[in-house]
Subunit: 330 residues, 2 copies
Amino acid sequence: MPKNSNLMIGIDLGGTKMMAAALDAQGKVAATRKQPTPANLGAEGVIREIAAVVAKLVKRVKPRKVDGICVGAPGAVDPKRGIVYHAPNLGWKQYPLAKLLGKQLDLPVTVDNDVNVGAVGEFALGAGKGARNLVAIFVGTGIGSGIIINGKLFHGSFGAAGEVGHVRMVSSGPLCGCGGRGCAEALASRSAMEKIIRRSIQMGRESIIPRLLEERNKDRITSSIIEAALAANDPLMLEVYERTQHRLGVLVADVINLLDPDTVVIGGGIAERMGEHFIAPIRETAFRHVMRAEGAEQIRIVPTALKELAGSIGAAVLAWQRFAHLNVGR
Amino acid sequence: MPKNSNLMIGIDLGGTKMMAAALDAQGKVAATRKQPTPANLGAEGVIREIAAVVAKLVKRVKPRKVDGICVGAPGAVDPKRGIVYHAPNLGWKQYPLAKLLGKQLDLPVTVDNDVNVGAVGEFALGAGKGARNLVAIFVGTGIGSGIIINGKLFHGSFGAAGEVGHVRMVSSGPLCGCGGRGCAEALASRSAMEKIIRRSIQMGRESIIPRLLEERNKDRITSSIIEAALAANDPLMLEVYERTQHRLGVLVADVINLLDPDTVVIGGGIAERMGEHFIAPIRETAFRHVMRAEGAEQIRIVPTALKELAGSIGAAVLAWQRFAHLNVGR
């Protein structure tokens, strides 16, 4: 087998599930695997589970060889030292993930942030192909973004670049998880939508959503519930959806005004499920709010193409960069 | 004379005045000159005036030789083609400044944006010395910023990066010059302060400011008027000053949350005049609003060091980079 048939494995480590993808140097996905994250078992249990996922993928792609691993972790990381500083969903602090996982797997391991690997995935092999400066905004429980500057992932000075969810959009808005008020995340994330919907229903507003939750046996207003409520033309859902799109459009304009990217990718559950239906009004609002001499229309504002694989594919792309100095997909 | 005693001239071209500085390769300013911009004479008149300023500086620094010129223009530029797209204060559109000025001077000429050259000045030789990622925010008639990423001026994809003045800070705030509502510029620029003060006085609020304007024969609330009103403990001035500082603090936090720079420099008239008195509360608010796992205190938030020379010195630094491939001051 020629050397370039080897693979790198990327892992998108979430608080509730992990997604893994084995990627070759041509940018082709050889195998993927999705598995729950046993966050309740603590860091050791999670590491064991990551190792098990990797072992299964390694077995599945045989005789091709896996040369390295990159994990996108949900929190603040130091990619150079391979440390996860702080991952609240996993209860990790100052955790030397690269070293410990590398020891268990006997493979080189590198780490980055989950949103950053998602941005790299879309940039290299997804909706951002051909971009030079890209911001990928992921809208889910929170709102985060990964930034590509001049074709390279930008970490910022202290590894904290891309916290677009904590841009203040209104001066005295709803309380955010960060302790602030009026952050984008507190106004336009999926969980912000959920809060507004629940409060409105509690206050007597009619909606199909309680019935949908019961029928589907769900306790959260997931993107599939949102889709169903929209399909049923639920007025409350429509109102909250449109308000969210408006907020996100203004947020995208803020990002464009500051960074002037050529491409903005919107990912996360709702964007994965609704695609252009979700993005079109965001794009329209953003173009209306962008300040520039030349036409804003040359900026691409597009939904995720890799969907739930964005993070794992992007992590594998980073592994190729860091361990083989190879820019997959560019 | 050794070759490295040669000079580059940087020009900070404003709508009402221009400032020029001749800089050597060691980062030492050999001569400066300030002159009104005869905007009413049209583009040709302005170019003639720039050429005259350069000629005077060239004469003054003799026998040292001037190798090139960089002009920071107040508007959107294309540095690669040397064109000023759109400079509303000068009434310029699609103006090939580098070519025309180069012909008159028989010297290589390059152009950039006035705020960008200011950022380069502070980064290379001012308050941002030693930085790697820096945002310089200039608060004056408007609010603009220049961004340094990994030690290099970042223009964005379409030359429009750094429009921090048009980040929406409140969802339905005062009308901005750009047509939007609630932009930072409409809330926290010197001219926004002036508007609020004038309206409050019209509505009957007591203030020392009308008397100061009369005594000093001024028709605008300049930074010197602001300084005098603050020194007199004028309650209206204090209130507006503090509100502006709060807004700017939140804006700085937004920028930090998105870009994670190691240094933020605040420039413009009020910062030049008031220095730390203006910056300290901005810094405090920014630190309170920054979202990050690690301490925010490692970020430097500092007033301009080069003051009204930031732009001309920065332009000369760019001329050194572009014509001699030399990083002055780094």
